[in-house]
């Protein structure tokens, strides 16, 4: 499967090599599509490809990283 997410990094996590760690930890293909770092915040558009269970596990791992917020590519699907 392919999972497309946006990652938000806070000021502390922005210097951490999170994507490198992710690729070491899980057998997935990571493909960065957009990235910017500004004013103490990082934004990353990321595609993760691999076996469904491994991709899902890698997403859970990302969510558990301190200072990293994982969002669907649509950001807010839920509306008022």
């Amino acid at each position: 499967m392919k999972l497309r997410v946006y990652l938000n990094f806070d000021e502390k996590s922005v210097t951490s090599p999170v994507i490198w760690k992710l690729a070491k930890e899980f057998d997935v293909i990571t493909n960065i599509r957009s990235a910017s770092v500004k004013e103490g915040m990082g934004l990353l558009g990321l595609e993760i490809e691999g076996e469904t269970s491994i991709v899902e596990a890698s997403a859970r791992w990302l969510e558990a990283q301190e200072g990293v917020h994982v969002e669907p590519i649509e950001q807010n699907v839920m509306e008022g």
Binding site: P72, N76, V77, M78, E79
Partner: protein
């Protein structure tokens, strides 16, 4: 039937163009897609007279909406009143104030009927039989109602703790209503997964570029109702920030087509302090939107990581506008002020809009002697909980004239 002027879907980030199809994200950079048009094709053909000759609904501007031919869903939606609000203007100390009242939008009393009717019309064109959304209120009701009227199957996803009135406001239309347990992020993620897995038209996911264009009709109507004039200042509530960008787009389109003159319209965004990521970015003079966890009574605006926040920020800055935020208490005060001066019962988002407008006026960001339009986007009957304990309770008497006389005398009635 006039030729469609829709050109393509274009990425707002990298500019890559795509054929018209049910998709919303750029395959290259993951940027959001937007409908773009060849306005030159309308040269001289889309006139004030033509628009005025058509029925009073949002489709009188159909050339500027991304549909082929006639609307398939919501043919009677839109064209809500714009009123000159003199009593409220006096209370705020301004010269010229108007209120665009989408709290009476047909059929479900919110501006979502505009976006949903475009999304569902497009969904029918694409051949979808089932439509869906994830919502905490207005969107759920609008998708359920408009789908029912069009004979479409619908799925509506709501958080488990949604107020009974809002659940009923969607369920009555016979939709498949799914209540999801969990934290906001989990619910949001599940809905994204559902949207990706099932072959449905998810109104604010795969047909979002078309859906969002429906908001422009609110702007078109305001300009027509002002006598073909662009207002000087417009205040809108912000959740995703989309409405702010689309009203700006509507004004630019009318200027480009020669339907109104450029009035240097400034756009202002309103948020609740408990969920104000876009306002904060404007006040901090940055374009980075830091996600927040929402905590406000204005639930219809409670989007912590707004998808169009960056673009709304840009619109406000470039147009010379600003952003403001108000506390829950200020929201309720503003709801009461609007009701007591103009007889309009707006939902909490309306309190946010008026409360922020008041602050923007008091701080001098909006001058007191120029035309101001406030956009009221939802109906107070849907968020009664917010003001239940804030209004006077009825005084109870027996069916006796004597008892009423006592009461009237106490009120000083002669």
């Amino acid at each position: 039937m006039s030729e469609s002027i829709v050109r393509a879907l274009k990425c707002r980030e990298c500019g890559h163009e795509y054929e018209i199809q049910p998709t919303h994200v750029c395959e290259f950079c993951f940027g959001p897609l937007e409908v773009v048009y060849d306005y030159d094709k309308l040269d001289g053909k889309f006139t004030r007279e033509l628009i005025e000759s058509r029925p009073q609904n949002m489709w009188r501007y159909k050339e500027l909406l991304p549909i082929d031919g006639e609307p398939k869903v919501g043919a009677n939606n839109g064209f809500t009143p714009l009123i000159k609000a003199d009593r409220l203007a006096k209370a705020l100390g301004v010269k010229e104030l108007y209120i665009k009242i989408d709290s009476v939008c047909y059929p479900t009393l919110s501006f979502k009927d505009r976006v949903v009717s475009v999304a569902l019309s497009k969904a029918v064109e694409f051949g979808f039989k089932t439509v869906a959304c994830a919502s905490t209120g207005n969107l759920a009701g609008s998708v359920a109602a408009n789908a029912a009227a069009a004979g479409l199957e619908s799925y509506v996803f709501i958080p488990e703790d949604l107020e009974q009135g809002k659940v009923l406001g969607a369920a009555i239309f016979g939709t498949n209503i799914i209540s999801i347990r969990g934290q906001y992020d989990d619910v949001n993620r599940l809905c994204s997964e559902v949207a990706g897995k099932y072959g449905w038209a998810f109104v604010n996911v795969n047909v979002r570029p078309f859906y969002a264009e429906g908001s422009k009709t609110l702007g078109y109507e305001v300009m027509e109702q002002l006598g073909w004039k662009a207002p000087k200042h417009v205040v809108v509530p912000m959740a995703s920030g989309s409405l702010c960008t689309k009203i700006d787009k509507s004004i630019k389109e009318f200027i480009q087509l020669g339907l109104v003159e450029d009035n240097q319209t400034a756009m202002y965004g309103a948020q609740a302090t408990g969920c104000s990521p876009i306002t904060k970015s404007v006040k901090d003079d940055t374009d980075m939107i830091h996600p927040v966890k929402a905590n406000t009574i204005a639930k219809s605006l409670a989007i912590g990581n707004p998808a169009d926040g960056y673009y709304a920020n840009k619109v406000m800055k470039e147009s010379g506008g600003y952003a403001e935020d108000v506390s829950d208490e200020e929201i309720i005060d503003a709801m009461k002020l609007l009701a007591e001066t103009e007889g309009i019962f707006a939902e909490t988002a309306g309190g946010v809009t008026l409360g922020c407008a008041k602050k923007l006026i008091d701080s001098g960001k909006i001058p007191r002697d120029e035309s101001i339009v406030l956009c009221i986007t939802g109906n107070g009957l849907k968020t009664q909980e917010a003001v239940l304990n804030e209004v006077a309770k009825p005084r109870i008497i027996n069916a006796s004239l004597k008892e009423f006389d006592v009461l009237a005398a106490a009120d000083g009635v002669k």
